[in-house]
């Protein structure tokens, strides 16, 4: 069977936090080996959408999800789906760099260790490969056993990228991964992302319009829990079809 062109397909997704509806019938597809940017004003449900894709919302009490989310054609909210296994396929990067207060090495191999990998050569090799892919190998190769908290914010975020890559997920979700970083660190991360595109499908939430236009292939604009407009990034930014989109990207609100 040929792999479907879309890595993730979301259909008529509603999500309620208690009574409050945070996603109001979202239908959207994320393509394989592309970077999709998700933009929209604060509180429109961007983080919520990301967390439905790795089922991190399961941890919030009182959450109700209806509709379907498929990863590679597989319904991830199906009763027999194991959320823990799913999260090994769908990595996530957070707004605040959040390395564990352990050594760089232990951070990177965390995902492998919890899957039961013990062989030293496999772990060593994974550390080198992941750190190289996250473009931070040269900076830390001589201090792999130092505490990851001793690195700068930008370096920490790349350690987090390496930590995600080590488990070889199919999809990487990024929730404003550079908003806590300075411009130089941000551009390092952006460069890293462009390299990762060949092997991974990336969904990135960002508030930075330039960033979205620089790195993404497609852009989705959300407002109040609804998908307003979705298309190739160039079209969204150059000739938005909807008035709300135009207002938002030209900075008239949000």
């Amino acid at each position: 069977m040929a792999e479907p062109k879309d890595m993730i397909t979301v259909q008529d997704l509603h999500l309620y936090y208690g009574q409050q509806e945070a996603l109001r019938g979202v239908t959207i597809d994320f393509r394989r080996n592309e970077i999709t940017a998700v933009i929209g004003p604060s509180g429109c449900g961007k983080s919520t959408l990301l967390k439905t894709i790795n089922r991190l919302n399961d941890l919030v009490p009182d959450v109700t999800v209806t509709g379907t989310v498929k990863l590679n054609g597989q319904d991830i909210y199906a009763p027999n789906m194991d959320a823990v296994e799913l999260r090994k396929e769908v990595g996530m990067l957070f707004q605040q760099p959040n390395p564990f207060p352990f050594s760089i090495y232990d951070n990177v191999i965390y995902g492998l260790r919890i899957s039961g990998e013990k062989r030293k050569n496999v772990l060593d090799e994974a550390v080198e490969r992941s750190l190289k892919a996250a473009a931070i190998w040269d900076e830390v190769k001589d201090r792999l056993h130092d505490n990851a908290m001793s690195l700068s914010g930008g370096q920490q975020q790349r350690i987090c990228i390496a930590r995600v890559l080590a488990t070889q997920p199919k999809v990487i979700l990024m929730d404003e991964p550079t908003s806590a970083l300075d411009p130089i660190s941000s551009s390092e991360i952006e460069r890293t992302m462009l390299k990762l595109k060949d092997d991974y499908s990336i969904v990135i939430v960002t508030r930075n319009m330039q960033q979205a236009s620089r790195i993404s292939d497609r852009t989705a604009f959300f407002l109040a829990g609804e998908l307003i407009e979705y298309g190739p990034t160039r079209d969204i930014f150059m000739q938005p079809q909807k008035k709300e989109t135009e207002d938002y990207i030209s900075g008239r609100f949000g």
Binding site: E85, R87, Q96, F100, P101, H145, R163
Partner: protein, 308 residues
Amino acid sequence: MKNDDIRASLLKRSRAAKNERFGKILTGLCILIIITVVVAIFYFVASKGLATFFTDKVNLWKFLTGTIWNPGTTDAQGNPQVGALPMIVGSFGVTFLAAIVATPFAIGAAVFMTEISPKVGRKVLQPVIELLVGIPSVVYGFIGLSVVVPFVRRTFGGSGFGILSGTFVLFVMILPTVTSMTIDALNSVPRNYREASLALGATRWQTIYKVVLRASTSGIITAVVFGMSRAFGEALAVQMVIGNAMLLPSNLISPASTLTSVLTMGMGNSVMGSLSNNALWSLALLLLIMPLIFNIIIRKIAKKGAMR
């Protein structure tokens, strides 16, 4: 306002600055009083406690390793019999055993209350723990005497008095303190470590075990040390169940004694300045120094743990 007025108002001390100075002096004074009290206590205990060695010429090594405690009498060579080893062993015995037993329970309870069921934890267990902390030690001792001692006697034989009963009583006494400090340690682990771990495909247990407990190791160690200091210094409850025999304990159910129990029992019966009185002060000095030493050792361990 004219320029001169502005200058004058800038040169004059403002009300806020005055208030600030007042606050500084007030808090400084409080600190000074506390420090004075602590230093005075140390000085007093040390001067009395060291007199045993300097005035009465007792050999320090003999004091720490001698097994016969009978300050009124002398041995064949005419040395006073002030061997503190039985009490040192007794104190360390109950302290370490109580800490070893209490730690897994404290960690288990704290994990339940912070990670597994915070709601039940806050509503039911938190008040219970606070209540347990507030129970006076004589009550624990009394329960120990009327429940634990007979239980030990029936189960393990002997009189029931001894290190084992002391351990049980101290275990219950330090458990709430160690638990609530462990809870604080677990709560201080940032939420986002947990999120990161779960997002990497860890189960809840793996997250607790490999991230939360590991990240809070030094906090948990601090909690245990704190419990140990408390156990080490507890006098009344232990005295009621340990049997108070100044013998080197040969097993966990033979009567023994601790530094504190000997102190509380002996203080009233000796004359200030006499050797028997000074020897008791030496025990007090030991009680003062030991928790300090635990603290230093374990802080070193914690630091090493954190660096790895």
